[in-house]
């Protein structure tokens, strides 16, 4: 008997599976929460060429190259990554594809791991490319597979939009087999791929015609469907919001939209005519709502449902004054537990010194952004990938070079390769006095330890060509370049002092592996008799160091939790009373 194989997959795993089943040949991405596991899972399918590209623009452009020669290609990125890749995306919207080309954007409503809450459904309209929005893992797989076929059929890039609660939720997926598609090969076509104004003017007209055809297709798309229930309440919804709405309003009629640009306007009109009251329940911006209102249809939407933050069943219930559970106990006095820099993190010493020297520090994106939190307080700004470098240059140029004696820019190794290098060249070229600190922990730590050019390893673990940040800096014309061990506090402080006092651009590479990449050293211990409770070690903000009350002393003394300590020795170097020692000496 034929049996469909089923498996629990996350939305991201399902996209990877859909790419494989859909005959995808080529995948490139830069890691970013919540999108990272898409490429990490595609890596498991040997039929697909995969690479970690240095940034999202590069990833999309190499995928476009693969499409030019007729290969099916996919790239995946977090929502803000699509800002970086927006330049090629808009023009690829004109050129169309040869091999199917799919861009996956993973938005982060609620900003669980992001700097903003942008709703990338806007990009579909802006770049004039079709948009698919799955509501669960099974649809994520089906839509990915379908997107390759539709991309080729309609000659357009497809945008597939997930959100954190799709990417990182799991559900049951029906598995299929891989459809092998031959790579078509390269055929020169400059009217299609060389966007001289003369060509682009024609392509723009092609785009507008294509959108009409896509709108027709959207009317019949099987996953844009009406589910009739009671007709006094109709709900139009898409993505994860559909799932929440189904639970809150189990009896209502639903128009579940999945192909959400261009919208199936006739289907929407038909549904609206049949129901008495119409709600649009969508997470983020009122995109469906505005378009439906512009069609002259009366709907209730963001006047009731919050625009900021994530939706969930409770939020939707509250929006419509439905009965919600009242906690039997008021929760106050529950101390927060924010994320912290790991015990033994090699970046901690650098932040300690920056705080100690009272420097202003422009910051960047990565786990090291946590250096901004007390007690380290070692970061003043964080805007987007690479902005540490350029923000510092702008501050110095606007305020004068005296500022550079108190100003550093802090960037991680992977972020430096992503978008730091152009800013560095800019500072050297414009005779700046930038002091750049590269925190090189030899991995892309926050997203789960992906390799990058500085590691010399490739996506599948094979050896690539290693490119060192200090060599890049020298190549960019930086005269002051030094590599320092950040676990040596004295050396770290001296290097930072030398750099800020140097006239011209400086680059310090603080190199020490992320604690997840090495064996921990023996843990440290405090001798409570020697400790006088001065709390200097607490200024490191290490989660392993706490205060403890002992009988023989009035003031509490320091205590190091052995299960957390990684033996980085920073507190030992800091202690003025020789009260901290390594457990290996016991």
């Amino acid at each position: 008997m034929f049996r469909i194989e089923r498996k629990i997959l996350s939305g991201n795993e399902a996209v990877a599976r859909g790419a494989w089943e859909g005959g995808c040949h080529f995948a490139a991405a830069y890691p970013g929460t919540p999108s990272t596991e898409i490429l990490e899972n595609i890596i498991k399918y040997p039929e697909i060429y995969t690479e970690w590209s240095v940034n999202e623009k590069v990833a999309l452009e190499v995928c476009a190259g693969a499409s030019f020669v007729g290969a099916r290609a996919i790239t995946a990125m977090k929502h803000v990554g699509l800002n970086v890749a927006a330049d090629p995306m808009f023009t690829l919207g004109y050129t169309g594809v040869t091999g199917g080309l799919v861009i996956v954007t993973c938005d982060d409503p609620g900003m669980w791991s992001s700097q903003n809450e942008q709703d990338n459904r806007h990009y579909a309209r802006h770049a004039k490319i079709p948009l698919l929005e799955p509501s669960d893992s099974n649809e994520a797989k089906i839509f990915t597979k379908l997107a390759f076929e539709l991309s080729e059929e309609f000659d357009t890039v497809f945008l597939l939009r997930l959100t954190t609660r799709i990417s990182h939720s799991s559900g049951i997926v029906e598995l299929g087999t891989r459809k092998e598609i031959p790579i078509k090969g390269y055929v020169k076509n400059i009217r299609k791929r060389l966007v001289l104004p003369a060509h682009a003017r024609i392509l723009h007209q092609v785009v507008e015609e294509r959108l009409k055809k896509l709108a027709d297709y959207s009317e019949d798309f099987p996953y844009n469907r009406i589910e009739w229930g009671e007709k006094n309440l109709g709900i139009i919804s898409s993505g994860i919001a559909y799932m929440y709405a189904k639970e809150v309003f189990p009896g209502a009629s639903f128009l579940k939209l999945s192909f959400t640009y261009p919208l199936p306007r006739n289907l929407i009109k038909r549904f609206a005519r049949e129901v008495k009251k119409l709600l649009v329940i969508e997470e983020g911006d009122p995109i469906l709502e505005q378009e439906i209102k512009a069609m002259g249809i009366k709907v209730i939407g963001k006047d009731k449902i919050p625009l900021c933050g994530e939706l969930d069943p409770t939020v939707i219930k509250k929006s419509f004054n439905k009965k919600i559970y009242k906690p039997q106990m008021e929760l106050k006095d529950v101390p927060e537990r924010p994320p912290v820099l790991c015990p033994g993190c090699p970046e901690r010493g650098v932040f300690y010194v920056i705080n100690k020297l009272k420097l202003t520090a422009t910051g960047d994106i990565g786990c090291y952004t946590l250096g901004a939190l007390p007690p380290l307080n070692a970061m003043d700004t964080c805007i987007c990938m690479g902005a540490s470098v350029t923000n510092a240059h702008g501050m110095e140029k606007a305020l004068g070079k005296e500022l550079s004696k108190k100003l550093v820019a802090i960037i991680g190794d992977s972020t430096f390769f992503h978008m730091g290098i152009t800013g560095l060249i800019n500072a050297v070229y414009n005779k700046g006095n930038l002091n750049l600190i590269i925190l090189d922990n030899l991995t892309t730590a926050m997203t789960g330890h992906q390799p990058h050019p500085g590691t010399g390893r490739l996506a599948r673990g094979e050896e690539g060509k290693r490119i060192l940040p200090e060599d890049v800096a020298r190549g960019c014309g930086v005269e002051f370049v030094r590599v320092v061990d950040p676990l040596d506090l004295k050396q770290t402080e001296q290097a930072i002092k030398d750099a800020i006092n140097f006239e011209g651009v400086t680059v310090l590479v603080f190199r020490s592996p992320c604690i997840f990449l090495k064996k921990p050293k023996p843990y440290l211990a405090v001798d409570p008799e020697k400790c006088n409770g001065c709390k200097l070690c607490l200024r490191l903000g290490c989660p392993a160091i706490t205060l403890k009350k002992i009988e023989s002393k009035e003031k509490p003394v320091a205590y190091i939790e052995p299960t957390l300590c990684n033996g980085c020795d920073l507190c030992l170097q800091l202690c003025q009373h020789d009260a901290i020692e390594s457990s290996k000496n016991e």
Partner: protein
């Protein structure tokens, strides 16, 4: 993986909602994976939601898991959880508003002070267990102790999983299969022993 679809055909569409919470690094994601695999093998529709990235760095972590005949939302609503499985006491308190009336909180006998407490700015709440007992069935599990006796404190997560399995009534062989699906072969034996220890808590 074959699921036993027949098992639920006779049952109604009661959805079981579980919140699993604790501190980043305690193995919460693995436990919720095993739990959902077991529910899937028992023939249920399953949804799970978790958070990766920044929040995992020693921060508060919460996973939602739901199973039944047909599950839409991967998120549990406030006051909608049948069970809370808390890997740490403060986290049990933090997410207690998810528990339904007469729900059960299974809580690890473990106290991990957050940074504000370490720095002496805040106090770790006193008498958490007594507070929770005022409105919930509370089941305190010494998972660290049990795991240490097994030789590896890191399997406290699977001890806790065993302790919630006492309430879920899936056949034991489904759990074993679910553990096998999610754990590296070299750690399988240890994890199964940890699970059995949790399961046999009276």
């Amino acid at each position: 993986m074959k699921s036993k679809k027949k098992a639920i055909e006779s049952s109604n569409n009661k959805i079981t909602s579980i919140i699993i919470c604790g501190v980043g690094g305690q193995g919460i994601l693995l436990s919720s994976d095993i739990l959902c695999t077991a529910a899937f093998l028992a023939g249920y529709d399953v949804k799970k939601s978790e958070i990766h990235g920044m929040a995992q760095r020693g921060g508060s972590v919460i996973t939602h898991a739901r199973f039944g005949k047909k599950v839409y939302s991967p998120l549990v609503e406030e006051g909608g959880a049948d069970f809370i499985l808390a890997f740490e006491k403060l986290e049990a308190l933090r997410y207690s508003y998810f528990l339904r009336n007469n729900g059960t909180i299974i809580v690890n006998e473990l106290q991990l002070p957050p940074t504000s407490v370490l720095a002496g700015e805040r106090d770790y709440p006193a008498n958490i267990i007594e507070t929770l007992k005022k409105f919930a069935n509370v089941d305190v599990i010494p998972a660290q102790e049990i795991a240490l006796k097994l030789g590896n404190v890191r399997v406290a997560n699977v001890v806790l999983l065993g302790s919630i399995a006492r309430y879920l009534k899936f056949p034991e062989e489904l759990w074993t299969e679910a553990i096998k699906e999610n754990v590296k072969p070299q750690y399988l034996d240890l994890n199964i022993r940890a699970f059995k220890q949790g399961l046999s808590i009276p």
